[in-house]
Symmetry: C2
Subunit: 282 residues, 2 copies
């Protein structure tokens, strides 16, 4: 298997394993759909984006163009919109970094270089990709993604995509991953290896990983939809469930309240990518 | 999206949708595993084989080599062996045919040409690929796949892979697809379109397709494991379930008796491939 095929496969399989893991409280999984997006939409989205990951691994394309391409590729076979926007924001630079060195030990250093080297052209493409998806964003950001003038501001001020992520990072865990060198991603990957090596199945390892990351990091998507207080409450509950709770009950409660920890799912996907790249076979 | 990416994606998504459809009586689906092979093994196998479908769509490689490659690629991330051997035997020539013409109306004619043009070198590679998988085969075939002398016989008698399929066709539905021009595959694709257009979900359309094909064609894998009488009995039950039965009961019964209609799953995958290639979006 070619190296770019392997990298793209790790990214795609990470998406498939994440959405399949059950019970994964509050999110679409193989046992429950949302009204407007189903499990099968996520499967099709992952298959659609895979060639873009392969392009990323070839290291010949720009991050902004790749994120833009991924948004369109996601809907090749499904009509529920881009179900993997957040995951893509993490996976694209990780795939580029993996393409630059086959040594896993260098991945962290490489991905830091990749995101720091982004340009204002990447930022423009990133902003344009928002027009193709319905992504929940901060409303008071001085660069409103719904305002076409933002594109001119980006170019006038030479704001790189890395700089945009710095601006967003106080309220966005994914942006913080970019700025801080993907610490939650690599931390999650270590956890995944531990859970799997302890004898848990792939499914149960991912469920544990999800609960653990949700407990540690209040979910950005929940915070944007329901406020930080709710996000913190959900994290507290997740920690309790890991100690001695019922994950099925937790799932039912979140689904009923329409609270979905989508950013945690993105972190889980990025962590699984690193774990698969590191040689996980099951 | 490039055409070979699109073709490979259709093949891979067909595999993912088939294994995900539930309840799919007797086979691994998203709600039940077998002891030695789980749902996650099928996901990883599909992702692993995808680059081989892309090679097939480029039309620059030999069918036998591609089938051999697919066997190895299947286990890139999973250790349960090749879960998709039968599906690959159908999908590889279909992908090659799709790569030769973008017109769906020409697919049938093209795939007939592809399988008829196979050589004894393809047959040798096909036989070699059996050594990498644990596939149930007829024991009294004069070309025993477990006997290395068979490879010499193939070359001495210039037996093409198409000829081998002709020899196997009386007792093997997949071989019959090759010899007869994939009639069940195209029939299944028309059924899938009808079910989906009638308003059924993707999942329920696939379950209906599975039951319908199982009812029409006694399953080869069941016949090889349990005898043709059992295979016919299962087909009769499938027809009854479609009229007024309980598909969950049927599933439980087959799982308990370890009767798995694996060849029907292969036909469903091939049918889904043609449907996706024809433009199915959901």
């Amino acid at each position: 298997m070619r190296n770019d095929d392997f990298i793209a496969g790790c990214a795609e399989l990470a998406m498939l394993l994440e959405v399949s893991a059950t019970p994964k409280p509050g999110n679409v999984d193989r046992t429950h759909d949302f009204q407007d997006v189903t499990y099968e939409h996520f499967l099709a989205s992952a298959v659609g984006i895979s060639p873009v990951f392969k392009k990323a691994a070839s290291t010949r394309f720009q991050i902004g163009d790749l994120i833009f391409d991924a948004v369109n590729a996601s809907t090749q076979w499904q009509k529920a919109g881009n179900c993997h926007f957040g995951a893509t924001v993490l996976l694209i630079p990780l795939c580029v970094a993996a393409g630059k060195s086959s040594k896993l030990s260098q991945l962290k250093q490489k991905v830091v270089g990749v995101v720091k080297n982004t340009t204002s052209a990447d930022a423009v493409q990133f902003y344009k990709s928002f027009h193709c998806v319905d992504v929940r964003v901060q409303e008071r950001h001085f660069l409103d993604v719904k305002d076409p003038k933002s594109l001119q501001t980006i170019l006038d001020q030479d704001l790189t995509l890395y700089k945009i992520m710095q601006l967003s990072s106080p309220n966005d865990t994914l942006a913080r991953e970019w700025v801080e060198g993907f610490p939650r991603t690599f931390h999650g990957s270590q956890l995944m290896q531990q859970y799997f090596q302890s004898g848990l199945s792939v499914n149960d390892s991912i469920v544990q990983l999800f609960l653990k990351l949700l407990g540690e990091f209040p979910d950005t998507l929940i915070a944007k939809k329901w406020g930080m207080e709710v996000a913190r409450e959900v994290s507290t509950t997740a920690r309790g469930v890991m100690r001695d709770g019922d994950v099925q009950d937790f799932d039912r409660d979140l689904v009923q309240r329409k609270i979905n920890p989508g950013t945690t799912a993105d972190l889980v996907i990025a962590s699984l990518f690193v774990t698969l790249l590191g040689g996980l076979r099951y």
